[in-house]
């Protein structure tokens, strides 16, 4: 592919990757570049607005959406290493402007170009192989928004199948919510902890040594519970494994060597 025909991709970093696990953002850049994209990171980005949107604060959500539309319009694609933020950009954001036809049209135009990272790699860029190795047995958790809003299920499994040394072991209920739910996990901590305990039991029953998923929220929740239970299971974002960057950073919740 000649440089001029490379699609221009804007990386939507997501607030949790920015604050908590920047390596995932760099893994995304590497994967996108390997797939032949020219990646840019618009500076004027903070958050997709879900904390406000799901708390019923439409005004704040709308303000943030305006900023996103401003910062991300004009690229060929917008890609986020998260099904949750990806779903917000693709399916929810435009509805914040149902009463504003001009903004609604701009939001719709942007939404049509927004993707979750792994789905974008396979479905748009046609990636089916990765340049990565990982020794271990991994189980993959289907994050709710990625699965049910964006149809991300087979794509990560396809690419993980191409990682040298990695075997996949499926949970009994990989598509059951881990109990994170954004602010749900702190509004209803007791219910949330019970749900994530059911999840970690399902994870442990697979015999996998590694848990992977495509959303930092779910990963922090599951890693936090596994750590509290003293589990040796390593937790990582799927992009770290696919980009071959597992030596760059310890698993989520593990001390630096």
């Amino acid at each position: 592919m000649s440089p001029v025909s490379k699609p221009r991709v804007a990386l939507f970093v997501t607030c949790l990757v920015d604050l908590h696990r920047p390596t995932v953002g760099f893994a995304a850049i590497r994967l996108l570049e390997q797939a032949g994209c020219q990646v840019e990171v618009p500076r004027a980005q903070t958050c997709c607005g879900q904390p406000a949107y799901n708390a019923g604060d439409r005004d704040t959500a709308r303000d943030l959406a305006r900023g996103i539309i401003e910062a991300f319009s004009g690229y060929d694609y917008v890609v986020a290493p998260s099904g949750s933020c990806g779903g917000m950009l693709r399916h929810h954001m435009a509805h914040l402007f149902d009463d504003d036809p001009n903004m609604r049209a701009r939001a719709d135009a942007l939404a049509a170009h927004c993707y979750e990272l792994v789905g974008f790699l396979t479905d748009v860029m046609g990636v089916s192989r990765v340049n990565a190795a990982y020794e271990g047995v991994a189980t993959y958790h289907d994050s709710c928004a990625g699965l049910r809003e964006l149809g991300i299920r087979d794509q990560p499994r396809l690419l993980l199948g191409a990682v040298e040394g990695l075997t996949l072991a499926e949970m009994a209920e990989p598509d059951t919510c881990c109990g994170f739910g954004g602010t749900f996990c702190v509004k209803y901590p007791e219910i949330s902890v019970r749900m994530v305990s059911d999840k970690t039991a399902d994870i442990a029953a697979t015999g996998a040594d590694t848990l992977l998923a495509g959303d930092m929220g779910c990963l922090l929740n599951m890693a936090g519970r596994l750590e509290r239970q003293g589990s040796p299971i390593k937790v990582r974002h799927v992009a770290e494994v696919l980009a071959g960057m597992t030596n760059d950073v310890p698993p989520i919740g593990q001390p630096r060597r």
């Binding site: 920015d18 990171v41 019923g56 702190v186 936090g224 509290r228």
Partner: protein, 475 residues
Amino acid sequence: MLATSPAFKQNASDAMADSGLQKALTRTRAQLPARRAAAVAALPEFEQLRNIGRDIKNHTLANLDFYLETWEANVTRAGGQVHWCSTADDARAAVLAICERVGARTVTKGKSMISEELGINEHLEAHGIAPIETDLAEYILQLRREPPSHIIGPAFHLNREDWEASFRASHTHLPADRVFNEPRDIMAEARTLLREKFIGADVGITGANFLIAETGSSVIVTNEGNGDLTQTLPRVHIVLASIEKMVPTLEDATSLLRLLARSATGQDMSVYTTFSTGVRRDGDWDGPEEYHVVLIDNGRTGMIGTDFQEMLRCIRCAACMNHCPVYMTVGGHSYGWVYPGPMGSVLTPSLIGVDQAGQLPNASTFCGKCESVCPVKIPLPKLMRHWREREFERHLTPVAMRRNLGLWAWFARRPAAYRLATRVAAAMLGLLGRRRGKFAALPFAGGWTEGRDLPAPEGETFFARYAREQRAGRA
């Protein structure tokens, strides 16, 4: 029914500590989704049927006045009578008036969630009339004086030992040494006792799964046949139905019936599906001498034309709660009123007020399983979010949450300030958490760290590192 919905958190906490309930939930949580999945897989046009179901209900709701009047004319033509009731009070009074006019002493009842909404049993009892629940699960709940915990499996929260204990405690006239080896024995005892009640009842009360405008019929589905005995043996049949049960035609009803049992229990059809049209005609083998429909609004017309109109499509199959990880963790009673689970979390605030039921639409992770299985495609998470918006507008959202959100929003609206703040926060947490990689406790994070560690961040934000690497790359 008095709502305990404001105490949802405490209810849920108690429910999670109730080992019997947890045992019952664990037993069923995998079963029901598997049964539905098998039934859906066996019917290739199921997805198409969901669209048809949604469209039938939308069309009916858009023309509800027309269909209600057409239906009433057809009920009247078949010798029945419609009692239009705006409120629960009106409906209770209408039922009582019929029962008193015919001198009823005992009333048999089929399973009906609207009767729970009206509190009809308590009302009849207070006026010296004995209501007898004839659905097996409702019967045992009546013995235990408990409300249903699930809209199609009312005794979802009970285990077999609870059934046996309740029967022994209530049926003291039977030999104390009788043996209950299997569920069949419980059923046989209930059947024997209920048989005489069916025959002796003066009035039979049922709900309705559908009302059909073109024929004036009401439809019930059951698996026990108790509804048929309830509505055909007594002299008087009273149907309790809310306005959104309406469908235009018989064909529409059958389309929805194809969705209902598959979504509810994974059956192709419920065992008994019965259409009732008016009173017994000359030459009919059975049927009541009087056929009344107590038609109930009780807050539903207030939903029409609002964000919540879509909720009136609900056909009460319970697929949403059967697939809800929150319902399966806390059980139905935690929701504190008649309708639990995702459908209840949308409907309850509409019917008893969001100030009473505001917890319910918040107690969802928006995982979306409910919407993905709803036979009439109600966007349940979206409607719960609409309730959160109403709460936010009315300042019902907890003060601390509102304040934190406001602080976060101030920064999130200002990328430069946000960059700085996150950079400082990440650096501090990264430094403090470097040695262990996680925090067991942190100020202001009690909700999180009660049952989970908080993984420590890497320490440098993405944007700080990206800027640093860009500068290094250029140099």
